[in-house]
Amino acid sequence: MKRFFLIIVVMTLLIPSAVYAQGTDPWSEVFQPDGNLNPDLIDLGVTTDHPDWMSIELPFGQSIDLDANYHRYQTPSGNIVVLPSASTLFFMAMNPQESGLTGSYGSLGNGYGSLISFLGLVAGDNLDWSKVQAEHPEYTSPDQFWGAVLNGQQDVWTYFSGWGFITTLLQMTWNDGALRSLYLLYLNGSQNCAAIPGGCSGIVTPPPPPRECPDPTVSMQQPVLVIQKTAPNNPLVVGQDTENRRGADIQVRVTVPPVIFTWYEPIYEERDVCRSTSSGETANCNTGAGSAINDGVSDTEMVFKECRTHVEHLPDAVASLQATAALDAASQDWITGRLGQTHYEAFVHQANFTLIPGIGSWTGGCDGGGTCTATGQALRVPFADPGTFNLRMDVVTTGTRFLGVPITQPRRVGIDGTMQVYVALPALVP
């Protein structure tokens, strides 16, 4: 129920406001007047990061480093649009300086109001407002309090009266990675990518263009990822398949279309000219500067003629591929709860599998057209527990270079899938 509420809350913030689509506003490069994203944006995909401000310190110097997760776009002028996941946004709001939130253009403008709404909705029920009012009567509404938190003027941690909502928020984001509620804009983010959320991953950095020709352009399509169970149709837990212990086969496939890099080469031609004489040279032509006698020497110079277009299909190969399977929480609850009531001491045998690399492996390469693929499979994975397994594949690409110049940074992409594992249970038929 709590999870459902949080999803509804975040979904209500998903629709971008058309208020940004104004002429001179940098947001006009991001949104069309109707509020839709501008098609000229380069989709940089989803980037994950492990910032210190999303780390949970454990005793004995141990730590749980949580993933900050952003979907980013690059505008034609080099600004970067960042959509953090719900949990990442929450931690950014709790650490506005360290996370780079305060450096965003959006946080200075309309973005603040949306952020305050977001905080009120996801964390407001766990804020001890009566304690805030007792200690800080200057805040006459929770919105004022959240505003002070975002400005770094107010510590919020003393005023939380619940703790589980943070865990729920994090879990919700992992399972619903698309829940992103706020657009943050970083002006000139591509030039200063080390300082923006998500860093330089996937940022398009074309080389300086020649003066006479148009700027080079980069276009890229999102990689196509597939993770699926291939056999058998209805996998049975290996504990009930004692002869074969068949398990299930999982296959992964990634296709990365080439990055299309279009650049323009200036073409010059040699032309005869009469240039001014230098000291020691004998004049043999007239420069046409008004002199009645020869005042220049014959020479040749390179004159711009045209721009020649080059289209490069740059391969963005798969550098690493990981695939995992994890029994979802509801299935684990069912095994230890309902199944445990009828089958004494039912327990979860193995909830997590490292499929690739581990049980299986992957291979990949690129063709002459610049399309790169990677495939892998994990055969006869010995699933011992019934229920829904969440499949996950994470891929990192190499990025692209042209003539030794980096064109695009490595991309991190991922996909989720599910599969069912079955158990045969006896039933009494009247």
């Binding site: 949970i56 310190e57 454990l58 005793p59 004995f60 110097g61 141990q62 730590s63 749980i64 480093d65 949580l66 993933d67 709790m94 009120g120 909705l121 407001g124 029920d125 766990n126 804020l127 001890d128 407002w129 009566s130 304690k131 929770p142 510590d155 941690w157 003393t158 005023y159 939380f160 009266s161 619940g162 703790w163 589980g164 943070i166 865990t167 729920t168 994090l170 879990q171 992992w174 994890a326 929480a329 509801a330 684990q332 609850d333 230890t336 709860g337 327990f347 979860v348 193995q350 909830a351 997590n352 599998f353």
Partner: protein, 186 residues
């Protein structure tokens, strides 16, 4: 006026009954166990929660690199909320890599120090932990932890370790007696 005859025997029985009922009411209202029931229930509940905390902490820091990450996580999972387990799993890869590199074989014992917060469905406990040998990244064998436990249908479960900011907030509040925190308003 109609006269109702009452025998002497019935009159004595009625008086005895009235005295017994009055005495019974007085005894029930002043019975010492009556007031102790709620505190006893609370103590029993706290005992359950602190035991759950001790068990979970000991599983978290019971590390044997030879048995594999999955076996380690499954022990923790049994004592955790589903969300808490997912939270721990999300950061487990990097921790386990260090344990394998260091060939860690460690056992832990834990004790509940005090309950520092309680909102009815969640409790925060301060714990002490003693390790049989240090874990990679630290040379300590004794440390303190603050953990959140949540009430679920199958009892009290470990949810997560508090973050540094939350611990600092609790420490800043000082050693004030634990009070039940009411749910805040948005």
């Amino acid at each position: 006026m109609k006269e109702i005859p009452i025998s002497k025997r019935n009159l004595i029985i009625a008086v005895i009954l009235a005295v017994v009922i009055a005495a019974g009411i007085l005894v029930i209202e002043n019975w010492p166990l009556h007031k102790e029931q709620s505190s006893t229930a609370s103590t029993n509940e706290d005992s359950l929660v602190s035991t759950a905390a001790v068990n979970a902490i000991e599983k978290v820091f019971q590390v044997n690199y030879q048995e594999g990450k999955d076996a380690w996580l499954e022990r923790i999972c049994e004592l955790s909320t589903p969300a808490g387990y997912e939270l721990f799993t999300a950061g487990a890869d990097r921790m386990w890599e260090k344990y394998v590199d260091a060939k860690s074989v460690v056992t832990a014992s834990s004790q509940a120090v005090e309950k520092v917060a309680d909102n009815g469905s969640e409790q925060v406990w301060q714990m002490t932990i003693t390790l049989s040998s240090p874990l990679p990244g630290s040379n300590k064998t004794q440390d303190t932890a603050y953990v959140v436990l949540a009430k679920t249908e199958s009892g009290w479960k470990f949810d997560r370790f508090l973050m540094e900011e939350e611990i600092n907030a609790i420490r800043a509040q000082g050693k004030t007696p634990t009070t039940t925190v009411e749910e805040g308003k948005k």
